[in-house]
């Protein structure tokens, strides 16, 4: 048997006939079918209004935040929630960039300082009040931020490759930088980075 192709039926023709039948019906029947049609059309219009994610090039929905006077963004797909930081329990002996753990409705989430993770120079001290909880599959942790700016839809075309010296963060962790100096971090890379996972032992 030769390879089979999916069956092609002349749907256009069928639709024409059905549309004709519909028109006839509409003339003779009550508004019920009309209203029905209108509802369908309205629904179709509503559906059409949802911004198509592949209109012209791709877009990326991000959560924007401020950390030590710099503006950063993370793909919202990996953001589980934003939690106001109230009590932070420190873990003595943990790596410097691990600030401690918080209790999120009974679940323990570890919290890190991005600046320390990337070894950025620490200029001054800032009120890190919000925890952005990132999650990808089974990996989860929180990233501290000063201020959450909100959710934004970036066009991929806006994101330029970063100049190496501009942000101090290694290029592999960045999607890039926008013209407004928004540093778009690669959340997935961050979450899946083996360096993020702490696995230490005490040598005997």
């Amino acid at each position: 048997m030769t390879a089979s192709t999916p069956k092609r039926i002349d749907w256009t023709a069928v639709r024409e006939r059905m549309a004709a039948a519909e028109a006839t019906l509409r003339e003779t029947l009550e508004p019920s079918s009309q209203a029905h049609q209108q509802v369908l059309q309205q629904r179709a219009r509503q559906m059409a209004q949802v911004p198509a994610s592949d209109a012209a090039g791709e877009t990326l929905e991000v959560l924007q935040f401020v950390l030590a006077h710099e503006h950063y963004a993370l793909a919202s797909r990996f953001v589980d929630e934003v939690y106001p930081l109230r009590e932070l329990t420190q873990l003595p002996g943990a790596p410097r960039f691990v600030l401690g753990i918080v209790n999120v409705r009974g679940r323990i989430v570890s919290v890190i300082d991005i600046k320390r993770f990337f070894d950025l120079p620490e200029r001054g001290v800032s009120d890190l009040n919000k925890v952005i909880i990132l999650r990808d599959g089974s990996m989860e942790f929180g990233v501290l931020a000063d201020v959450i700016e909100g959710v934004n839809l970036l066009r991929m075309s806006e994101i330029q490759p970063p100049l190496p010296t501009l942000t101090g963060i290694r290029a592999e962790y960045l999607h890039g930088v926008t013209a407004q100096r928004l540093i778009v971090l690669d959340a997935q890379k961050l979450i899946r980075d083996p360096a993020m996972v702490i696995n230490e032992t005490v040598e005997s």
Binding site: M1, T2, A3, S4, T5, P6, K7, R8, I9, D10, W11, A13, V14, R17, M18, L40, R43, A44, Q46, M47
Partner: protein, 338 residues
Amino acid sequence: MVDDSPSALELLVYLLNGDPELQVIGTASNGEEAVKAARRLKPDVITMDIHMPLVDGFAATRSIMEECPTRIVMVTASVVPREVSATFKALEAGALTVIGRPLGLGHPDFDTSMRELLQTIKLLSEVSVVRRWSHARNHPPLESALASGRQIRLVAIGASTGGPLVLRDVLSQLPATFTLPIVIVQHIAAGFAAGFAEWLGQSSGFPVRLAEHGAPILGRCAYLAPDGVHMEVTAGGQVRLTSGPAEHGLRPSVACLFRSVAQAYGGNAVGVLLTGMGKDGAQELKLMRNAGAVTIAQDEESCVVFGMPGEAVKLEAAHFVLAPDDIAATLRRLGTQP
């Protein structure tokens, strides 16, 4: 939507709910739940797998068609002929048609597969549930049609949506003394032809074979076009399978068959165009009529979709417009040696 595999069900629900004109109002994972849900929710269309625990698809279809009939579409992934045959049995219980499972997310042809599924379901939802076979009432005056003394040597039948059951009905009414060969093009989902042939043969009691290229066309046998190729007949009485381009997106196409019959058999044939969506074969039925063949279109009342035969009627391609029983009666008279 009825399926005992949660993953397959989830995909189907996702696909159908993604279309603004469709709404999934209930799911079930076995035949028993399906019947209860159908009773309670009264859906427009039910999709069902045939292999399910507790009560299988066949029994469930039967129960539903008895208590709260609606449009039932069998969905299956099996292409093992035996299993396909079993799925077609559901048509006997009242299911509308059998379609293959859509491809999964990530498959390159996913979009096409999805669109087809949605279109099929939408169009099937317009089909009237209650179809009455009208019983034999008018005996067409065949004498006039046979007046020119031609001798019928072949029956060619084309069908699409709703065809299987009509074919079964017609074939089952042809007696052992029926001597003509029958060539059939039935539009069917890829991979199902073999199983369909098996079922058709078993359920009608008439010998049905999947056509093979070059095989002689023998009497009292029905040759079914395999999927993916065009079937034609030669003047020498042989089957020709070609992989020419699809006509109107169809391969096998009724048009191709009828055209070759008109050319090879001229007026010594009967052309029958049964229920189905679209126009496939309507023009060519007219060709056959012009060549002198006896042409029949299935009547609107008994059609699941009056597409192809309707077009034929519009083109005045058919001598007679008949119900399935009458079609069978006509064929009997034309093809039985006393």
